[in-house]
């Protein structure tokens, strides 16, 4: 019950404050758009770096947006209510992670093929890029949530969060960008996508427990 209620609440909150959905999306598009300007507009070069560029930009956009996952609730005192409630904290934490991905991660996934096209990513790799991000970005959100739960009470915790979380993002980045690059070369990618799917399942089931523990620690044990 608290799952549905929390999911619904998060959607309403995002609806009332649309900047939190739109900003990461713009950030993602802008960062990717910088590369042809800064590196080179040549199609053969861009098509090589495209998977990595899109993935790194998506990763940073997720990192940027996940930072606000608990901040407003912490400041308003609503987080305390989550912590004193008798229901298992795992449930609202899972709901918050899923809602956050639906509202900020999914839009990134949906525009990614377009950005791939902009960077001359070979057409046969478009689908893999999309699927990889579809499996990878929720993993990034779930892992990011663990870092946020630990830094929620810290002033200017943004840099600390990046230091904590970026190393943990590496496997997802390697397999995600790797899959798209493989697909661009016509190599089979099912194995890489399966590993991304496995990471998604593991992080989505385990992260909420870690987030719950992290929130208890950062709120005074």
């Amino acid at each position: 019950m608290s799952f549905r209620a929390t999911l619904k609440r998060e959607v309403v909150l995002a609806w009332r404050r649309p900047a939190e959905i739109i900003n990461p999306l713009f950030f993602f598009v802008m960062v990717v758009a910088m590369f042809p300007l800064g590196v080179s507009p040549k199609a053969d070069l861009l098509s090589v770096i495209a998977p990595g560029v899109v993935w790194v930009a998506a990763l940073l956009a997720v990192l940027l947006s996940v930072e606000g996952l608990f901040r407003n609730d912490f400041e308003a005192g609503a987080l305390e209510q989550m912590l004193v409630a008798p229901t298992n904290l795992y449930v609202p934490c899972l709901a918050k992670i899923i809602a956050h991905w639906l509202l900020t991660g999914l839009p990134l996934v949906l525009v990614a093929p377009l950005l791939g096209y902009m960077l001359h990513l070979p057409e046969q790799a478009s689908m893999t890029l999309f699927l990889g991000l579809l499996l990878g970005t929720p993993t990034l959100t779930a892992i990011g949530a663990i870092g946020v739960s630990l830094t929620v009470g810290v002033r200017s915790g943004g840099i600390l969060l990046a230091l904590l979380i970026l190393p943990l993002y590496v496997p997802v980045l390697v397999f995600g960008a790797g899959a798209a690059a493989y697909a661009a070369n016509g190599a089979p990618v099912e194995g890489l996508l399966a590993i991304l799917a496995a990471m998604l399942l593991a992080s989505l089931t385990l992260a909420p427990a870690a987030v719950a523990a992290g929130l208890r620690i950062s709120n005074g044990g």
Partner: protein, 224 residues
């Protein structure tokens, strides 16, 4: 130390156990002792005021009781629920220092989420009269950002009418309230105690001679 195992409790009625018992509670912050040797028993039907100067540790004590703050020595026990093997949090209503409301949401949405965390589905038919009783009729679907500090406090306090809990842990419940609001809440606290509930609130305001108090004075503790 009192013992609450099944064997030791043989022949004792569960209702004879105190609701709250603390043993040698000790807490410090930044090398400053907030309170030490706090031995406190609270039973149903009592109203307790946690008093003390600013920075004396009132909020910290309230958070310890609510299970939010874990850095302390000594023990906090809820013997009755321990004996019944229940999670004491089921019986708490904790209202913190901050009102706990999100500005983007309306009072109705805030309260619905709040109660869902406690696993209750509260009928809107119960929320509307509670808000009306606190003078918030007509504000049910206005975002909380448009409410004044006192009105927000009233929204949070409406849970005293909505939720059915035994122990009320209220941190500075009278903050930002006007005189009418204070009287309203005082009466509600008396009513809850008369119905066998336990009220523990932190404030400088002692509204009744029957109110017992825990006074924190920089390391010294007075329970009376």
């Amino acid at each position: 130390m009192a013992c609450y195992t099944a064997a030791a409790l043989k022949g004792t009625l569960v209702t004879e156990l105190p609701l709250l018992e603390t043993t040698d509670l000790y807490c410090e912050r930044d090398d400053r002792v907030l309170f030490s040797a706090l031995n406190w028993r609270a039973v149903d039907g009592e109203i307790w005021q946690v008093a003390g100067v600013n920075g004396a540790g009132k909020t910290t004590l309230m958070r310890i009781l609510a299970g939010l703050h874990g850095f302390f020595d000594g023990e906090v026990r809820w013997p009755r629920w321990l004996a019944q093997q229940q999670d004491p949090r089921q019986h708490f209503l904790y209202l913190g220092h901050k009102a706990g409301l999100r500005d983007e949401l309306t009072p109705l949405e805030n309260i619905r989420w709040w109660t869902s965390l406690h696993g209750d589905t509260v009928d809107d038919a119960k929320i509307f009269p509670a808000l009306a009783c606190l003078g918030l009729a007509g504000y049910e679907t206005v975002p909380c950002a448009q409410l004044s500090a006192g009105q927000k406090r009233r929204v949070a306090l409406s849970l005293l009418w909505i939720m059915n809990k035994v122990v009320w842990l209220l941190d500075e419940p009278f903050t930002a309230l006007d005189a009418d609001g204070v009287t309203l809440i005082e009466n509600r606290l008396r009513e809850h105690a008369a119905n066998g509930g336990l009220v523990i609130y932190s404030s400088h305001h002692r509204f009744d001679d029957a109110v017992r108090h825990v006074r924190l004075a920089l390391g010294e503790v007075e329970v009376a």
